[in-house]
Subunit: 337 residues, 2 copies
């Protein structure tokens, strides 16, 4: 089986060899820029790792995996335009380095290119792969829309928040694993290697990815408060300072009472807020811990993590082959950065 | 066979019945707005007309046809953002009625929805349909990029211009006909109706659509000068006033000489231009006619029209069944508005 490092290298090599359409080269300059900016290549790795569960040959999954990475970068590119973000991976964003129209148009072209790469899957799995990808593609848009909707709502519930992060991030991880699983199983069937597992394995892989994604995103909320400043990469308390409706804040607004609740509500209202930055961060963290929001967040992370691993354990696949996925899940949801 | 009017009604009825994803309803409000704004539904009609060549049952082509209309409206939506256009079909554009972020995000969701609808084609033709659609999708982006590139170039050749309009508009008509043809032939094969024609018919249909598109676009350039103000819908001379690099201007810059060329160059240079609006329109039209650009444009229109009809005539399909397509081609390329 391939290690995660080997898979990343395979993916980066494939990205470097992308043969961009050449009738209007300027269209793909921002695309190359986005794709060369690095990132952890988590999603294409998941495609390949899922394929590798069923087949030692993962070559046919490589181009579709890169398609998913192109798609992911398309969402980042358009998100950056919408957020007016100045930087990504320490480099100026496309709409600043080029302009907003380039960012919109090249993003659209990335979606087209992603589908082109994904449609290279073996024909017997083309329909389920395209359908899974289409479903995820619509859901990602819905997640982004909910995120925008929530900015101006004060009554977002924890369930609604989970739904939003599920749509905005988890479905892409689920889709990566479903795609890889579908391709891998087909390769197993074609090569009669005896490792094709069962059809239910595909849904289990999706469930695994979806729950890893939820645990990952909640961990991100938690790390904003209690992460290690040396490794977190972002300023600790950044979410608190911009009144971001994280799982912690949503739960605290529901669980805190009395003076604590009153002060929380006051401080997230720009017209009434009075605390200094460090004071605000410390106060929010204190309330999150006291009212039970922090422990609710930790419990939720553990729940989604356990659900993910449970799905993995139900796969009809030799436990040795699932180790890499289970290790990746641990690293993503126990990470310090 | 179905008349174009019947097909339009079928398409509009299907569009009205679209079951939008409902997890974030705001995402699809601009989509419904775009799709209810009317338009001639030319592209989905082409899908259905091509399917109808091979099969009296066109039901399985209806959802994919609407997918192509959704796609077309996605390109219009993002084009309007990039052009900062205030109106479309007499109604405020999405980025003004909602905001720019909504227009970007809902446009992206339209691309996802388009693929969802298109992927409903019968499984035996899923691969060629998706591949044709992907190719077209990339090309549309390239055409838009070339259009932007040409704005700041003074040396665009007639061939480059043709390439740009081919990518920006014609490939979508070609793709509509290819999709419809692929679906229709499959239905003919499945139902053994004896009308399946030959595999080459699919490429011929594409060629037909591509050339109709070129003739249509050149006709649009010509109508800007010599259209009937009562029916053209836009101001006559609008392209001239904004120095748009139409086929006529590009050819005139190549064919005019002496004082005429000098004055053309002066008047398309905002720093040197001196003519009043009506004077400018009359002068440009006079030069276009005198230098041969107008007749070159008419000849090109006739050439692409003839190429289109020639492709249609080579189809291995009963001539009676191709009448509707040939009439549509005539109406699109001999139109007065």
């Amino acid at each position: 089986m391939f290690t995660q490092q080997e898979l990343s290298q395979l993916i980066n090599a494939t990205i470097e060899r992308i043969d961009y359409p050449d009738l209007a080269p300027k269209l793909f300059e921002p695309v190359q820029y986005m794709l060369s900016s690095g990132g952890k290549r988590v999603r294409p790795c998941l495609v390949l790792m899922a394929a590798n569960l069923f087949s030692d040959d993962i070559q046919p999954a490589l181009t579709p995996a890169v398609g998913l990475e192109i798609y992911h970068n398309f969402t980042l590119l358009h998100d950056d335009v919408m957020d007016k973000a100045p930087e990504r991976h320490g480099k100026p964003t496309v709409h600043l380095k080029w302009n907003e129209n380039s960012a919109i148009l090249s993003g659209d072209a990335m979606q087209a290119l992603a589908y082109t790469y994904i449609a290279t899957v073996p024909t017997p799995v083309l329909r389920p792969v395209i359908e899974a990808f289409n479903k995820m593609n619509v859901e990602i848009g819905e997640g982004q829309q909910l995120d925008i909707d929530f900015e101006t709502r004060q009554d977002v519930t924890a369930d609604e928040y989970i739904q939003m992060i599920r749509l905005k991030t988890s479905v892409l991880l689920g889709c990566a694993l479903r795609m890889g699983g579908l391709i891998g199983r087909q390769l197993a069937i074609d090569s009669r290697n005896g490792m094709e597992g069962k059809p239910e394995d595909i849904d289990l892989l999706y469930t695994f990815g979806e729950n890893v994604g939820l645990a990952f995103q909640l961990q991100d909320d938690w790390l904003d408060c209690w992460g290690d400043p040396a490794t977190f990469g972002k300023r600790i308390g950044g979410d608190i300072l911009c009144n971001k409706k994280t799982y912690l804040l949503i739960r605290a607004l529901q669980m805190a009472d009395g003076k604590n609740l009153e002060t929380l509500l006051q401080e997230i209202n720009p017209k009434k807020a009075g605390m200094g930055e460090e004071e605000k961060i410390e106060f929010f963290k204190k309330v999150y811990a006291e009212c039970g929001a922090e422990s609710a967040c930790r419990k939720a992370i553990e729940y989604y993590q356990a659900t993910a691993l449970d799905a993995l354990n139900h796969l009809s696949i030799d436990r040795k082959r699932t180790k890499a996925l289970s290790a990746l899940a641990q690293s993503l949801t126990h990470r310090k950065k």
